[in-house]
Symmetry: C2
Subunit: 414 residues, 2 copies
């Protein structure tokens, strides 16, 4: 497969060894021989969706297999808020995301490394993807100063001063020991001027190259992050720069940051086309059920978002029939489960009335039961999407998804 | 067995039927025939401890058996804070306490009754004891007005005005459907004048009689609460009044409210002697490990306290070697479990370093993992005390208990 090969090429299903050889060939074309490295991530496309281009796949990682398309719950500080690793697994989660920025600040990546890495520290033996810290540096930290070298910023916790550049981001993620690491990027706010985004895309490309060059040893796969805001040509430039590097996967960053839904879907559709067909595509920070249902047919393989967990703690539950605000008076003596289609611990053990009581009484159990349900909802939705891809009935699935929500009188609770 | 029979009498081990007959006989002596009722609680003493007078026993309730001496975790608002019913069971809990006052105010006892009772509402199928609401009316509510009839008070939640008397307390607990209900009492603050406590003891006795008279139908056992502050003769008067009523069990109330430890143990020792040997003795609101270890040999069968759960949420863990303040810097890279003797989920899965991190990061999982550990600690301590009673080696057990804590440099974390 040559550089620049895009979607629509022959279906690529190959084993570890062949895959590695092919990858090396491609690597040789674009980079210095000393940059060639083994890949520790194996992506297999099992089936392509009809028409629209979604795909059913599998990713092998050092910590097990992921079925794609997949939703990754967010474990910001080394814990998916309110649930235990056992429960997480029971909801159907196969991979989680952890935040480099947060863990770097507290408890510190070196401490986690000394204690055997993040998997062991948090008791999760499945795959972990860590983000680069780029997004949090821009969204959470104070007084950031961006230069060619990297970013100087102040901790949101105590105001202490820190520096993270591409090399530091790789070192931190290596200490954490995640299965998939993200290249350090600049995440531009929305809206942003074309010229700013243009310079930023170039910087992100140079940083990605430095990330790749710095990754020595370790069994980690490296994903690049396509930026470019809402400007199609800059997205193309960014994708082109990253694909040249022959990375293990490609993410779409800088979306769901305020742009309208049509624009977002357009950018996703066009950007995915610029990415190699045989690498996972990861849409960052997007997790509303409607967005998952719309993005999978566009060829997205991976998602992450705090929405199921954060909404749960705010009392908004996702159901087959739409969003449910559990504190509403209408549930005060409602004996039914949250979702009659759901098989989660919460739905099989507790009534809406009890969940409403727990939430109003601010009982800690409320946050957990709600979180279990929402994570299970997302896992079931992804399983449904995978089934639809397998059976070639995505249009039917989407129609049923929207139809089941008709008549839901509650407002959107995002 | 006659009225006034006290500890030291012949060991009473009898089955349901015999027990009931015997109880009726006793009842006939003291009360009007129309007050005679069946008992729905069967207490069997399996073995008496050597010398000091502790006893190993069993209580049968409509929701299963309890092994005594037992510690009851507190589920104030229909949830033992931070843990699920499944986890609660796994920690070894056999019975829990729920608060009448809280559940009456929110979500309301009538609602819980409509939804099938508290067991079903909260998903706990084991025995439940509900307190009378008396203690909370005095400790939480605003603007209370005590009369012969009962107490008028303002809700701590919204300031709304309410009335609870003996009959109301029984009705509420009947709606909740608990296995053991507590008679409505006045819990006097400490210190209190002799004359006030004297009047209060008499009021509590009259209220207990009204509670008993009001209890019609239902499969609930009724416990009286011995009050009397730190005045031995008033404790005796209170015990005498209640024992006359032939209740299913007797609680010691108004302790651990500020009196010193020696006084407390003295009151316990003397009061227990005034209670019938064949009924469970319940020490309310006491749960420090040292207090459990000292009170069991005095003949206490049941305890409840928020200490294990509240301390857990404050980051204080109970261990074989004494209390541990998990946020302390010394645990930052400590890979060991909280307690090397403990078999709980927390100790078998997570390090002190991780628990410290979760607590400092205010992760919800921290409160839960800490709670699981502390509840398991209390359950294991009670199991150890039961073993010691069985094997007649209580002194040895106590010695080992205190010896294991020697050299613990941490302060008390209550």
């Amino acid at each position: 497969m040559k550089k620049g090969t895009v979607r629509g090429c022959q279906l690529s299903v190959c084993g570890w060894k062949e895959r590695r050889v092919e990858w090396r060939k491609w690597g040789r074309v674009n980079r210095q021989p000393e940059q060639i490295r083994e890949t520790f991530l194996e992506f297999r496309i099992l089936q392509k969706g009809e028409g629209s281009g979604g795909r059913l796949g599998e990713i092998d990682t050092p910590h097990g297999k992921i079925r794609t398309p997949v939703f990754m719950p967010v474990g910001t500080q080394g814990s998916v808020k309110a649930v235990s690793p056992d429960e997480l697994r029971q909801t159907g989660a196969e991979i989680i995301l952890a935040n480099t920025y947060h863990l770097y600040l507290r408890p510190g990546h070196k401490l986690i490394e000394r204690l055997g890495g993040l998997h062991r520290f948090m008791g999760w033996d499945g795959p972990i993807l860590t983000d680069s810290g780029g997004f949090q540096v821009y969204s959470l930290a104070k007084l950031r100063n961006i230069s060619e070298q990297g970013v100087v910023f102040q901790s949101h916790l105590d105001g202490s001063k820190h520096f993270i550049g591409p090399e530091e981001a790789m070192d931190i993620q290596q200490s954490l020991g995640s299965d998939i690491v993200m290249a350090f990027d600049e995440c531009v706010s929305y809206p942003a001027e074309y010229e700013y985004v243009q310079r930023s895309v170039d910087l992100t490309s140079r940083w990605a190259e430095r990330c790749l060059a710095h990754m020595a040893g370790g069994k980690q796969a490296l994903f690049g992050i396509v930026q470019g805001g809402v400007y199609p040509d800059l997205r193309e430039k960014s994708a082109h720069d990253l694909v040249r590097l022959g990375l293990d996967g490609y993410a779409l960053g800088g979306l769901a940051v305020g742009e309208d839904r049509e624009t977002r879907l357009h950018i996703i559709r066009e950007t995915v086309k610029m990415l190699p067909d045989d690498k996972p595509v990861y849409l960052m920070g997007v997790g509303a059920p409607e967005d998952l249902v719309e993005s999978v047919p566009l060829g997205v393989d991976m998602f992450d978002c705090v929405m199921p967990t954060r909404n749960a703690r705010n009392g908004t539950l996702f159901t087959t029939h739409g969003r449910m605000t559990i504190k509403n008076a209408q549930y005060s003596d409602d004996e039914r489960p949250v979702d009659d289609q759901c098989d989660c611990y919460t739905c099989t053990h507790f009534s809406r009335a009890y969940l409403r009581h727990l939430f109003l009484a601010r009982e800690l159990l409320a946050y957990r039961l709600n979180t279990i349900h929402n994570l299970r909802y997302h896992a079931r939705l992804m399983a449904g999407l995978r089934e639809a891809l397998k059976d070639g009935r995505m249009d039917e699935f989407k129609e049923a998804f929207y139809k089941a929500q008709e008549g839901n009188i509650e407002e959107r609770g995002d």
